[in-house]
């Protein structure tokens, strides 16, 4: 199904991005429990304005951090960002040809590259949770953290971003250049995010919020023990469809000499 030699090389090629990115995610995520602790008393009991995050509980604060624009950028870079240029980038650099000259099927190459994206998604989700645990230790609010819910939060985070990594592999397997695959993937993530954010404070868009994949990913509910398995099913279906497209199109494509 996958090729471990290729997988090791892919990870090696992205090792600096992964190391730095994961370190940044840990630091970023530990800020939220600290912020919660700092403003806990001042915002307790006050009404939450539409569109604003719920900073009155630790779960709400962690949830805000999970879907904050900076988090979206970090999570995106470390999951979909690993796969968005996987095939088109190799093709653009002219290195795909030598890779394809080895006894590897195109499907095996594609699945190996997809695995890297999922590993990135799993690690970035884990990094966020490690940062959160460290943050609660620093802020002294460990008693408010539902540790038993952290594995399910990690799994949903990995599934959610693994889904975007799969969409990225579907786009990268369809183009010869990284620019269009990057544009489509980023636009897709942005469109979903914007619908979710605008819908949270604008009544006109609110009925369409369900169309956003972000609307189905609710870390606060997961931390509070409300697990929506239909969301996991939705993310899974989207990922399977994207992977199916990639597995269909890439082996059938003519790979003419790079320009």
């Amino acid at each position: 199904m996958i090729n471990l030699i290729l997988f090791r090389r892919l990870i090696r090629g992205h090792r600096i991005r992964l190391a730095v990115g994961l370190a940044v995610v840990v630091i970023w995520s530990l800020l939220f429990p600290v912020i919660y602790k700092a403003f806990q008393d001042s915002i307790a009991g006050k009404p939450i304005p539409p569109g604003a995050g719920n900073f009155s509980t630790l779960a709400g604060t962690i949830s805000v951090g999970f879907i904050h624009p900076i988090s979206i950028a970090l999570f995106g870079i470390l999951s979909a960002g690993l796969t968005v240029g996987a095939l088109s980038g190799e093709r653009q650099r002219g290195t795909l040809e030598l890779l394809l000259s080895r006894p590897l099927s195109r499907r095996k190459i594609l699945l190996t590259m997809l695995l890297e994206g999922w590993v990135g998604a799993a690690f970035v989700s884990l990094a966020y949770i490690i940062g959160t645990i460290l943050g609660t230790q620093i802020a002294g609010v460990t008693d408010q953290l539902a540790f038993e819910q952290l594995p399910i939060l990690w799994a949903y985070g990995a599934l959610f971003w693994g889904m975007f990594a799969t969409i990225a592999i579907a786009t990268t397997s369809s183009f010869d250049n990284t620019a269009p695959s990057m544009a489509i993937t980023v636009s897709f993530i942005m469109a979903n995010y914007i619908i979710e954010v605008i819908g949270s404070f604008w009544d006109v868009v609110e009925p369409y919020q369900y169309l956003s994949l972000f609307n189905h990913f609710s870390p606060v509910d997961l931390l509070n023990g409300t697990v929506d398995s239909s969301a996991a099913l939705l993310f899974g279906i989207v990922a399977v469809l994207a992977a199916g497209w990639a597995l269909y199109i890439f082996p059938r494509r003519d790979l003419a000499a790079p320009n």
Binding site: I5, G94, L98, L100, S101, L104, S105, L255, A257
Partner: protein
């Protein structure tokens, strides 16, 4: 092994576009025997790389069929690639790796041991110290050497090399040619495309010429050259007559005339040479130089002939470029060739004895 077929294509066709309007390959029929060193000639856009990429499964044929080492290029592509060494044109590498890491990585992906790495490195003057450096620091020639090593090091049954001499200096080109001859002597098959006609002429047993996606010649180098016109430079005592009317003799002109006689330049088909000499002797032949034809002339004859223009010019601008540039290109190449021929090409000099006149 000697009678086995390493590469076979039957009416191999590759067209691009929704309606197949771009004809990259049209009905290519090739048969390359195991143990052959086969040259594939043609300018940019002629269809060389398309053929190679189809053989390796990067492109899917529009029609026709092809097999490599007895395996179908569509169904058995992975197995073919297990047994083939490949060097693409414009070879690219992962810049963050050292030369050694890159070679190790490619070898590991191929799943075969590197049997010939040291031999190839030695021939191409690649040291361990060079291989330790990051590939991003390499010159173009150095990268090409790495490409040659990765293609040859596992001693594959078949080598498919697309412009292998690209970026190599003449000494390294010669070393590479010797390496390829070694592999053929060891029973391997080499199929390579090249822009360097002299290189193909020197080492290949057979050659195919493609033009506008069509195969226009498939011959032994010897046969291709044999049917080319010889350039004749003769010094005769009397103004010659009846030479221009000799069948198979073309472009007769008096290049100079003086006290010692008339210098005649012309071109002659090989079959017409004896008759031409006989007629020159009747005019008092004093000196005669017949230059052997080269593969380059054979190649240019396929690219300079108006009969072969169908389709190619519209589809491949490079071919059109060759056609437009023909007079200049030919003139330049002829000058080069004349200088080179004087040094190295076989010559037939006949100075008849006085008594024979």
């Amino acid at each position: 092994m000697p009678n086995e077929v390493a590469i076979q294509t039957r009416a191999l066709t590759k067209h691009y576009g929704r309606t197949g309007e771009i004809k990259a390959l049209t009905a290519i029929d090739l048969e390359i025997k195991a143990g052959e060193l086969f040259g594939f000639l043609g300018p940019n856009g002629a269809g060389k790389s398309t053929t190679i990429r189809t053989l390796l499964g990067f492109l899917h044929p529009s029609s026709g069929s092809a097999s490599v080492l007895g395996l179908d290029v569509v169904k058995d592509s992975v197995e073919i690639r297990r047994r083939v060494g490949y060097l693409p044109s414009g070879f690219a590498v992962y810049d963050y790796m050292s030369g050694r890491e890159y070679l190790d990585h490619m070898r590991d992906l191929s799943g075969r041991p590197s049997l010939l790495r040291h031999r190839v490195m030695e021939a191409l003057e690649l040291s361990d110290a060079i291989l330790k450096r990051p590939v991003r620091d390499y010159s173009r020639g150095m990268r090409q050497k790495i490409g040659v090593v990765q293609a040859l090091e596992t001693d594959p049954e078949l080598l498919i090399l697309d412009e292998p001499s690209e970026g190599l200096d003449p000494l390294m080109q010669r070393s590479l040619q010797e390496l390829l001859l070694e592999r053929v002597a060891a029973g391997r098959t080499v199929f390579f495309s090249s822009h360097l006609i002299s290189e193909v002429e020197r080492i290949c047993s057979r050659v195919a010429i493609v033009r506008g996606g069509r195969l226009v010649a498939l011959e032994t180098v010897e046969s291709l050259v044999r049917f080319q016109r010889r350039r004749v430079d003769a010094l005769v005592a009397k103004k010659p007559s009846r030479i221009a009317s000799t069948a198979g003799v073309f472009g007769v002109k008096i290049a100079a005339e003086g006290k010692i006689g008339y210098r005649i330049n012309c071109e002659a088909e090989s079959s017409a040479v004896p008759k031409l000499i006989a007629r020159l002797q009747t005019s008092g032949l004093r000196d005669l130089l017949i230059e052997a034809a080269s593969l380059e002339e054979a190649f240019m004859s396929y690219y300079g002939d108006a009969r072969h223009t169908s389709g190619a010019v519209q589809v491949f601008p490079e071919v059109a470029e060759v056609k437009r540039a023909k007079p200049t290109t030919v003139a330049r190449r002829t000058a080069k060739r004349a200088a080179a021929t004087k040094r190295s090409a076989p010559k037939r000099r006949a100075t008849p004895k006085r008594g024979s006149r």
